[in-house]
């Protein structure tokens, strides 16, 4: 029953041009959305905080693409704009949430990365890191009880989040139940300002897979082809009954923790290195080099993404904001069990 971990460096990719291009499109769209959100944030137009996935689009998009909405479950985390959209979240839902439209999935009750649509297989994250992994386990248990087979559940986590007890308990539970869980660990070398040396003391977090009885794969998380091949394979193995899969992506966060943070704590050397590791630039270059798109076509794609985002912004900005007078303040589905509001008692 127990799978030992295999730690692989480079995978033969076998990724088609179409699939690579699809990944590139999600990455591009994600970057475009987030650049816009960052600009809106600095213009004071955003409600609450902004946390970007800059530099992590390849890893995230590949995970989202490997899953099937309507069948699978995906609990994204902070830096998963690309993966969310690849899984089915829309630009409009994103901007509605950030701009505070009441038509967004959280109706103004929660915001930014906390948005989700559980009925569409995307649980809404709570802030407490690690807490969503066991929730995905629960959806998978539910599917098993219902006799649905071939369902895969995925959850994202940062390297910092692996220090939580919640993450550990969920990984262990998934392995004990041999659940079809894929956990994507984005090791972007920082948790807010904290470098990995203050976060964990093994060489590569993938070394933890074996201790859970999960299969572990460690990859360069900025290489789109490798990400696609790896997540496709991990999802297939999980779907086929291979038990939990842990994919660790080596990355660098190409921005601050949030839009408020200039990341001045990141050493200069690393920041310089960083720009050369921008996964979007790399994927764009691959598109060109392989002739999968001409410079003009790429420009068109970029313009298209930009246009899509502009439209969503315009629409979300026109939409109503939450109206406290129409808000029901009803935390229970069992409405008859709500007492009158104590405030005015």
């Amino acid at each position: 029953m127990i799978q030992s971990a295999s730690i692989e460096g480079l995978l033969p990719t076998g990724v088609t041009a179409e699939r690579f291009a699809e990944g590139f499109r999600w990455m591009l769209l994600s970057r475009t959305v987030e650049d816009k959100i960052a600009a809106l944030y600095h213009a004071g137009k955003i409600v609450g905080g902004v946390y970007l996935g800059r530099g992590q689009e390849a890893f995230s998009a590949a995970l989202g693409m490997a899953l099937q909405q309507g069948r699978d479950v995906f609990a994204p985390l902070i830096r998963d704009q690309a993966g969310r959209m690849a899984f089915g979240d829309t630009v409009l839902s994103t901007l509605r949430t950030y701009l505070g439209s009441v038509l967004g999935p959280m109706r103004g009750r929660d915001g930014n990365i906390h948005r989700g649509e559980p009925r569409k297989g995307m649980p809404a994250m709570i802030s407490h890191l690690g807490a969503m992994v066991s929730v995905v386990c629960g959806v998978l248990m539910s599917r098993r009880f219902k006799g649905e087979t071939g369902v895969v559940g995925a959850a994202s986590i940062g390297e910092g989040g692996t220090s939580t007890g919640a993450w550990h308990e969920a990984m262990n539970m998934a392995a004990v139940e041999r659940l079809p869980l894929v956990v994507a660990v984005a090791n972007n070398q920082f948790a807010y300002s904290t470098p990995s040396t203050r976060q964990f003391a093994c060489d590569d977090l993938v070394e933890r897979a074996r201790g859970y009885g999960a299969q572990g794969i460690s990859i360069d998380g900025t290489d789109l082809a490798q990400c696609i091949a790896t997540f496709d394979a991990a999802v297939s193995r999980a779907r086929a009954g291979g038990g939990p899969q842990m994919v660790v992506g080596r990355l660098l966060r190409l921005c601050g923790h949030g839009a408020h943070d200039d990341a001045s704590y990141v050493p200069v050397e690393l920041r310089e290195l960083a720009e050369n590791r921008d996964c979007l630039k790399a994927a764009r270059a691959t598109m060109l080099t392989n002739g999968w798109a001409s410079p003009h076509e790429l420009e068109l794609m970029e313009a298209e993404a930009y246009e899509q985002v502009q439209q969503a912004v315009a629409q979300a900005q026109r939409e109503p904001r939450p109206d406290p007078a129409r808000e029901t303040w009803m935390p229970l589905a069992s409405e008859w069990l709500m007492e009158g509001n104590l405030q005015t008692a």
């Binding site: 407490h128 929730v135 386990c137």
Partner: protein
């Protein structure tokens, strides 16, 4: 869930049995729920083959194969798992081995389960069974009453059954609710409290019950303390005092109207709870009645809780740490003098 199985215990009619305990009622409610709703499953440490630390799930794993599962010692993940299953349409019942260990599941309960419906519009129907309260010799970590903590957070229903019938019917109703329910079972009542049979009538969740009518003072309480309060009322009856005893049954929602109506009759209020003195159920009860029933009160309201220390291990200390019939009686006597 229909009432077909009413009064049936372990498949036998109550007539065949001498009595049914509070614990058996809990087991039987789970049995019935598993029988009638395929969405129900049970998850907890040692609940499958072993039937649970208190035997609240005895035989259920055998009767319902694959639906009663032993969990690892991972309270946080147990609750996270339950939330995931619940929002996907299942109705998990999670047993904490002791209420005290729910402190590890605290985050998943108050932040994940409790906020889910309000944040997303998707209900999160699950029941967390908490074997609660003090028994002699159990010490600081196997005796706690946590209803006051959970009632503080929005989005939870917090139940505290005090009778065999309520243990049965309230658990069954809890399982049908589309909200996370914290079900505080009192360990002291597990084996001690017996009924001849399961009552056929039930009171819905959210309604308090007047367990004993009276006109000199009202004691509002719940769970194991109900029985201490009833004993105190019996004692006082010898001296001609008629004490009304209200069983809250659920501490959230809290049935203020029933308490107000009682205080309107008696003019005097004592709130009794087994949990810690700062805040909690007795503070909520007394403050509500002070606010909404101020002019009904003929004397200052009173509270009685356990002492403000961890729950002591040694029976000598434990016996005076929590309220008892004797301390309740003496508190009522003082109240009657005012």
């Amino acid at each position: 869930m229909d009432a077909a199985g009413v009064g049936m215990v372990d498949g036998r009619k109550p007539a065949d049995r001498v009595s049914i305990t509070y614990l058996e009622a809990i087991r039987e409610a789970q049995n019935k729920a598993l029988r009638e709703d395929p969405a129900v499953f049970l998850y907890g440490q040692d609940i499958a083959t072993f039937g649970g630390a208190f035997k609240a799930t005895k035989n259920l794993a055998k009767e319902f194969p694959g639906r009663v599962l032993d969990s690892p010692i991972s309270e946080d993940a147990m609750l996270g798992m339950a939330v995931g299953a619940a929002i996907d349409g299942m109705r998990p019942i999670v047993e904490m081995q002791f209420a005290d260990f729910s402190s590890i599941a605290f985050n998943q309960i108050i932040n994940q389960a409790a906020t889910h419906y309000w944040r997303t519009g998707v209900p999160c129907p699950l029941v967390v069974r908490l074997p609660s309260g003090g028994t002699s010799g159990s010490g600081p970590f196997h005796s706690q009453n946590m209803e006051s903590l959970y009632a503080h957070y929005p989005g939870l229903v917090v139940l505290t059954p005090a009778t065999v019938g309520d243990a049965y019917w309230m658990l069954l109703e809890a399982i049908t609710l589309n909200d996370p329910v914290i079900f505080c079972e009192h360990k002291f009542l597990y084996y001690h409290l017996k009924a001849d049979s399961l009552p056929e009538e039930r009171l819905p969740i959210g309604k308090a019950r007047i367990m004993r009518g009276g006109r000199h003072a009202t004691v509002v309480t719940y769970s194991a303390m109900l029985h201490e309060a009833l004993a105190a009322a019996n004692e006082l009856a010898r001296d001609g005092f008629e004490i009304e005893v209200v069983d809250l049954r659920s501490v959230k929602p809290l049935d203020t109207d029933t308490i107000l109506a009682s205080v309107a009759r008696t003019g005097r209020l004592l709130a009794v709870g087994e949990s810690f003195p700062w805040g909690g159920v007795t503070a909520e009860v007394v403050s509500r009645i002070a606010m909404e029933g101020f002019h009904l009160l003929d004397a200052p309201p009173r509270r009685l809780n356990c002492k403000d220390t961890p729950i002591p291990y040694h029976p000598n200390l434990w016996a005076v740490h929590r309220p008892t019939a004797a301390t309740i009686e003496s508190s009522i006597r003082d109240l009657l003098k005012q």
